[in-house]
Amino acid sequence: MTSPWTRQMRALLLKDLRLELRTRDTLVAMLLFAVLAMLVLQFAFQRVESDLTRFAAGVLWVVMALTSILGVGRSYVAEREQGVLDGLLVAPVSRLVMITAKALAIVAYLAAVEVAVVPMVGVFFVKGPYFSEIGWLILVCLLADVAIGVLGSLLAALALHGRARELLLPVIFLPSLIPVVIAASGATHAITGGPNDLAEYRGYCLFLLVYAVTFGLVTYATYESVFDD
């Protein structure tokens, strides 16, 4: 017999994935947006520099950070528009389970987008892409996704009832996201951008871990108040 927490978490996550698989609203929009952002960045840089290999790591994580706003912003959309939130809140589900399940759903969206975006950045921005470091890169992606997911599920819940919440979320979300962009692009650059400096890589990855744990603790300290009207 599984514990109630894992059972509820699995049910909530499965629900979000099923909804997304059926409607495909969020993922399609995120992918198109990511490609557009890459295109815009390439136009911004290409005037000064024709070989953008050195910028590839930065491009990847700027694109992912901006794209994550779409995913995070949509994360409670079904509950809100279809009025299901009350249905979940009257059920005997810990609010921590609800927020964690949302974080996992965001991680799943981001990972799905990265599956397409990472190779695209490789093709569009890196001269002579190579795949020997892909394992290290996957670890960076996962750590960054978890960091974004932990922060995003909490802030999305805060913005849920706000006026003009589409505008609100980027404003409250992006400043806290800057460290993730710095660390993830730093780690990516460390293993793909030439220096191949593993100490640097480890430092950035450790930072991402600390970041995720810190906001995990913030969520843990405040989760009971998020939905407590």
């Binding site: 922060l151 909490l154 802030l155 805060l158 913005a159 009832h161 706000g162 006026r163 003009a164 919440r165 609100l168 404003v171 409250i172 992006l174 400043p175 806290s176 800057i178 460290p179 710095i182 660390a183 730093g186 460390a190 400096d197 640097e200 430092g203 950035y204 930072f207 600390v210 970041y211 810190t214 906001f215 603790l217 913030v218 300290a221 405040t222 009971e224 108040s225 998020v226 407590d228 009207d229």
Partner: protein
């Protein structure tokens, strides 16, 4: 009775701030020795760093008051938290401005991206400006609750921003510019401590003033509505 006490509290913190600030200005400009390398412009250091210290203390106060609000659900903690964020945000803007002036004077440029503290403070300003965006888009009890949660999350973001900016800089190039701070001669250190005390007193007085004003506002509104009924 309590109103009179509160008024006296404001008078005390106000005069303390006035005395200490005057003392700091006199000490810094007339008594403390002039810096051998930087000359008169180094004096901005006393205020730049002192304001930064005071604003960090203010954000800490906001975070603690936020946690207390979540625990006790008393409006006064929300008031304190919001006021502390407001005054500290003002101080942070001053930190960025004084830092920029100092950068111009000592390095000949208004903005230096490798100055960790300056860049961090820019992020901090964005972070806490978002606090008020969130706050103004929410209503009623939820406004206080979600503001409190955000005050906690934002405070967790401050050290993360600082370290991410720092590791990014230290890996790209070693820290070249060090402003004298750690090994300060004793006669400078004394006036630095006085400046910090002055800015903390100023912070307290401003928070006090703002709280008194918003309480008076509330009392006035209550009276008005009582008269209308």
């Amino acid at each position: 009775m309590t109103e009179a006490l509160r008024g006296r509290g404001l008078a005390v913190s106000g005069s303390l701030a006035a005395v200490l600030t005057t003392l700091a200005v006199i000490g810094v400009f007339l008594v403390a020795p002039e810096d051998a390398d930087q000359g008169i412009i180094q004096k901005i250091f006393y205020f730049h760093v002192a304001i930064a210290v005071a604003s960090l203390v203010g954000f800490l106060v906001a975070c603690i008051a936020g946690l207390l609000y979540l625990r006790r659900r008393e409006e006064r903690w929300d008031e304190l938290s919001a006021t502390a964020v407001g005054v500290s945000l003002l101080f942070s803007v001053l930190v960025v401005i004084t830092g920029s002036i100092w950068a111009k004077a000592s390095w000949g440029t208004w903005w230096v991206w490798s100055d960790v503290r300056l860049v961090t403070y820019m992020i901090v300003v964005l972070l806490y400006a978002a606090y008020f965006v969130l706050r103004s888009s929410l209503e009623g009890e939820r406004r206080m609750r979600h503001s409190a949660i955000f005050a906690v999350a934002a405070f967790a973001s401050v050290p993360l921003s600082f370290y991410s900016v720092r590791i990014a800089n230290s890996f790209v190039h070693p820290v070249v510019f060090t402003r004298n701070g750690a090994n300060m001669p004793a006669e400078m250190l004394v006036w630095f401590v006085v400046s910090v005390a002055a800015m903390l007193a100023l912070f307290t007085a401003l928070v006090h003033l703002q709280l008194t004003q918003s309480r008076a506002d509330r009392a006035l509104r209550r009276l008005k509505s009582a008269l209308e009924v």
